[in-house]
Subunit: 372 residues, 2 copies
């Protein structure tokens, strides 16, 4: 058996939890450096709640709101420079995975000088300012992981900074911030959470405990799948479903904090890098074909995953995902060849307990994107 | 839904894990203060492994080996005095719940002056030395909790110090230390772990996540129950079972770190205080009758627990526990009256989502100990 575990993030959850916990911010220092994107944190009320809590705790703040989807290395260096210029005792990340990951990288770069070529090296000093995360999507695991994933132009993919120093101190989980989220983003992020739980079970680093958690996360997704399929995107999705998706994504994050992600993420990054495909969507497109391949290596584990998803075959899992995702343009054979080459060299693909050949990777891309 | 979570302990698990991780001790300072009992840590090899790891990391140490079962307030004050006299950068607790709980209390009392009347008050300064725990039984949750439970003569029961400051930094989980443990201790501690998982599900502080974990812990116990019943105590119990029991106890600890224990523990403490009944045994004697009473308040939850245990009724659960525990002398009506009075005033009984009347508590004692 394996059941090593490390999850130092304090999770505070519930409607209105940020406003109720000014003291959490107050304990971290006198000045907050807030990292977020241009729009969503303002639209969904998360930024307002943070500013309210900071004011209750008499904490000053500075806002850096320049984070784009799939944040670049450039923007996190720039954020760190700004934080150095204006000061800050702790970092608050508000948004989806992009602002939270960027907030972590900024905290790291603020605390110490790291050359760009050493950024992904993992060799950092233990002097980061504490971090508070406020997720406003229910997909990313960033609120509970030690990862910060950035666009890596040199490698033409996304690459993660991974260090236990990047665990946030506190994350606030309030499903209210997702109330107005549209259908596509809701579905893409939900599938990202599913993918974390599923990939976690097919990682060589999985443990009995991470598998038990992953199954709980998959069950939570399954409970929401039909409501998501039926949802027209015009009416508001029920808060019960929103909350359960946030639960699934939280567990998914705890799982990959232990297992890492594997082939689906490695392969999805290329779809995002070259086609701008939403991260969760990219994972969802690849997941069923990956499971089919994985079933050749570890049939019982895949069987367990399918059973937990409430389906019998990988084809049936693929149909559920297709109904959620809708159609996707095909890739050219040249693209497939190129993407397979890049993802075969990614570090997370090595987390799989079996070695995927380049031919198998090509085959997964082809089945996922070029077949009806 | 509820899924707040906080579990800052780093869990390192596996055969031989202490010897392999000298660096963990090395990072904590130059001198360790080891808290343990007189015999078992020497007999099961845990102390030797710790000394090996400390020597690898060139860390000095002092041993305080005076911890008895159900440690007294006196012994933890004495331990803290000894630590003040000889110095120490961190505390290492080795043993079952008693030495680990005592180690936490000693770390607390070493770090600050606390009067005896304030010991259970919860108002402590954040200046404790880091703690490393090495459990040598598979029952207590102490390796992953913020509790230190001491014998409280003033109240004629056991009372817990509870503070997030008492979470260990690191716990090493090596089932090898349980290899030679006898049948009674093995069973009593296993039932303690079961009780943590079950009580956690019947706590007003339970969450969806703690319930999911508790069910995993109950399943792990269930997988071992028949092997424990059949085991003659002469041959060695299989390491698979040992490992699974350690898993169940680890999860049980994570659960009660979030939920607290409830009535079974409150009521069991009196059996221990007045009759010296082993802690886990005391819980096991009371568990089925408590579930029967709880079923009147929350039938679905109790149903879920029984289903996870693999039994249909609370009576059937009681039979499994009886087969494990064997017979127990009855209590007098005077004792029952007295014990019920004390446990009705305990703080953990208030964690139950329903208020147990004194009559109900009396009834649980009577059914548990005075019926065939």
């Amino acid at each position: 058996m394996k059941f090593g575990f490390y999850m130092p993030v304090r999770l505070i959850q519930g409607n209105g939890c940020v406003r109720e916990h000014g003291e959490v911010f107050g304990k971290m220092g006198k000045k907050a450096f807030i990292v977020t994107g241009k729009h969503s944190a303002r639209a969904n009320g998360a930024l307002e709640d943070v500013l309210y809590a900071l004011s209750e705790a008499q904490v000053e703040y500075e806002i850096f709101d320049e984070i784009m989807s799939n944040p670049t290395i450039e923007v996190v260096y720039r954020g760190a420079e700004k934080m150095k210029a204006c000061g800050g005792d702790f970092v608050v990340g508000i948004g989806g995975g992009s602002p939270m990951d960027a907030a972590k990288a900024i905290a790291l770069l603020y605390s110490q000088d790291i050359k760009e070529e050493d950024l992904f090296g993992g060799n950092y000093k233990d002097c980061l300012p504490p971090m508070v995360m406020i997720p406003t999507t229910a997909g990313t695991g960033s609120k509970v992981t030690q990862y910060a994933i950035l666009t890596n132009d040199k490698k033409e993919t996304k690459t993660s900074i991974s260090s236990d120093l990047l665990f946030p101190s506190v994350s606030f989980l309030d499903p209210g911030y997702m109330r107005k989220m549209g259908r596509r983003t809701t579905i893409h992020t939900a599938i990202d959470a599913l993918s974390h739980n599923v990939e976690g079970m097919i990682s060589r680093r999985c443990t009995d405990l991470s598998d038990a958690m992953a199954k709980e996360g998959i069950r939570a997704f399954r409970d929401c799948a039909e409501a998501l399929i039926q949802w027209d995107g015009e009416t508001e999705l029920s808060m019960e479903v929103r909350e359960k998706l946030l639960y699934a994504s939280t567990i998914g994050g705890m799982v990959i904090a232990h297992t890492g992600t594997t082939a689906v993420h490695s392969m999805g990054y290329e779809l995002t890098y070259f086609h701008g495909t939403d991260h969760g969507r990219a994972n969802g497109l690849l997941l069923a074909a990956f499971l089919k391949t994985a079933a050749g290596y570890m049939p019982e584990k895949v069987e367990e995953i399918l059973h937990t998803m409430g389906v019998k075959t990988t084809e049936e899992a693929g149909k559920v995902l297709s109904r959620l995702l809708g159609p996707e343009p095909a890739l050219t054979e040249e693209e497939i060849e190129k993407f397979a080459g890049i993802s075969a060299g990614a570090k997370n693909i090595k987390n799989a307990p079996f070695e995927l050949s380049k031919e198998e990777i090509v085959e997964i891309y082809r089945k996922s994107l070029n077949e009806e």
